[in-house]
Symmetry: C2
Amino acid sequence: MTGQDQSPTAQLSEALSTAAAAVEETMVALLTPSDSAAPRLWQAMRYAALSGGKRLRPFFVLQSARLCGVSGEPALRTAAAVELVHAYSLVHDDLPAMDDDNMRRGQPTVHRQFDEATAILAGDALQTLAFEVLSGPETHPSAEVRSQLVAALAQASGAAGMAGGQMLDLGAADTDWDETSIQQLQSMKTAALFACACELGAILGEAPPDQRIALRTFGLNFGLAFQITDDLMDVTGDASEAGKAVGKDAAQGKATLVELEGLESARAIAARFCHNAMESLDLYGDRADLLREIAGSVTSRRS
Amino acid sequence: MTGQDQSPTAQLSEALSTAAAAVEETMVALLTPSDSAAPRLWQAMRYAALSGGKRLRPFFVLQSARLCGVSGEPALRTAAAVELVHAYSLVHDDLPAMDDDNMRRGQPTVHRQFDEATAILAGDALQTLAFEVLSGPETHPSAEVRSQLVAALAQASGAAGMAGGQMLDLGAADTDWDETSIQQLQSMKTAALFACACELGAILGEAPPDQRIALRTFGLNFGLAFQITDDLMDVTGDASEAGKAVGKDAAQGKATLVELEGLESARAIAARFCHNAMESLDLYGDRADLLREIAGSVTSRRS
C-alpha cells in the first residue's frame, strides 16, 4: 500500500518507524568507535541511547529539515545529536539523587544496569558526543550552519533550557505555582528541546526567519502539550503501558497543570497547545501534514 | 619592577595571576545571565566555577593563542570554555558515587554545599555552557574556527578523552596495570584537556599544522607530568596545602605510576615528560619562555 492510499494515522505510523530506523542506524555508527579505550563507558552509552523510544525529537528534526529542503546524512546526524542530548538527560534524571527511577522503557535504568558512577559518566559523554557530531564537517558543508546548530542545541539544553527546567522541577515541592510558572518550567524542561529539534531543521536548510520561527513555535507548543499529556498519564496511566513507574508526580510534589487545574482543564490546555502547534504550520500548506497529524495525536498518546 | 627585571619564577607568577584575573572576569560575565529562571542552578554553577584554582588550562589557552597572534575576547572566551569543562568534571568527579570527596580547594564540594541533584545538574549545565560559548560569534569571526574549537574540545573531553579516562580510573582496582596502560589512562583523564587547551590557541590563530602539533605535544607532556605530580602529592602531601583529602589513591586502589614504580621512578618519569614538553616548544624560541617555565616548575608543585 503506498502513502497516498493510507489513512493519515497509518502514514504517520509508517513515517515514524522509517525515521526511527534510520536514526537508530546513525546512532549505532556514532556510538561504535573504531578504537575504544573505555569499552564499559561506550557500552553504557549504547545501552542508554539505543534502548528504543519513539524518537520523536529526531523525527521533528527530519521533518523540519525536509520542509526546508534538507535530507540524508546532515539531517540524520543532526537528529541523532538531539536524541543523544535527550538520552543523556534521561540517564541523569533517573539517578537516585534526582527522580530515582529504576525502570525506563521497560528496562532497568542505566544506574541499575551498570552503576551510578557509570551512569553519570555515560550521560556526560553522551552530551559531549552530541556537540562533537554537530561540529563535524559531515553534518553540513557550511561551518556557519554547524556553529548555529551547536549554539541552538546548547541554548535549548543548558541552564536556560532543559537543565534549568529540571532544576525547577526538583525544587517544585517548595514553591508556590500558578499556571504561568508551571508553563515556564515545562517550556524549559521539555518544550525547549522539541522547539530546538524543529529549529535545527530550519537551520540546516538555511531557511528564512519566518520559517525558522514557525517551526520553533510548532515545536514549543507541541512540547507543552506533550508534557501535559505525560503528567495526565502519570495520574491516569498504567505502568506496563508507560514502561516506567506512574503516580510519582503527586507523591514527589511535582508542579503539574493536572495537580493545579484538574484533569479536564489540563486536557483542554493541552488541546489548545496542539491547536496552536498546527496553526503555526500554515505557511507550509499540506507539506506539513505529518507534523500536523503528530500534533493532533499527542493528546491521545498512551506512552 | 617590569617584566625584564624579574626572575623567570616571578614573571611566571605574575603572568599566572594576571591571566587568572582576566579569565575570572570573563567567567563571571558568562555565569551571570541577565534573566535567570533557575537561580539556584546558576548559583551552584558559579560556586563550582569561580571558587579559585590556578586556572592553568586557561593560561595555556591564552599563552598558545598569544604565540599564534591572538589575544583579547576570543582568547579569553576560549580559555573560559576550557575551564568550564574542567569545573564540570571536578563537580561530577567529587560526587559520592564517584570519588566521594567532601572538600575541594579548601571549600565544601558542590554536592556538600548544595545537594547531589544540584551538583549533577550544575556539572551538566557547565559543560553545555562551554560549547555555547565556543559556538558564539564573539569567540571568533570565522565560523570554521568556531566549529574546530567545538570539535577539539568535545574530542578531548568525551568518551575518547577525559570522561573515558575517569571511567578507566574508577575501574582501576579491578584491572592489571603496566606503565603503558597507566599512561593511556592519564593521557585521557588529565593530559587530553591540557593538550586541547594548547591546541585551541593554535586553532584560534589559524596556525599551520606544525605549530598546532607542537602546542598539542607540549600540553600532552605537561599534562602527563602534572598527573604524576598529583599522584606524588597524594602520597607525600598534606591536606591543608593541597586543599583536599590526600592518601586516597592507595586506599581506593587507583592506578598510578607512584604505586607501580615507586616515588623515585615516578619523579624521573615526570621529569622526562617535562623535558619533552619544553623541547616541543623549540620552534617558538624565547617567545615560549613562560610555557617552558611552567613546565619546569610542575615537578616542584605543592597544590
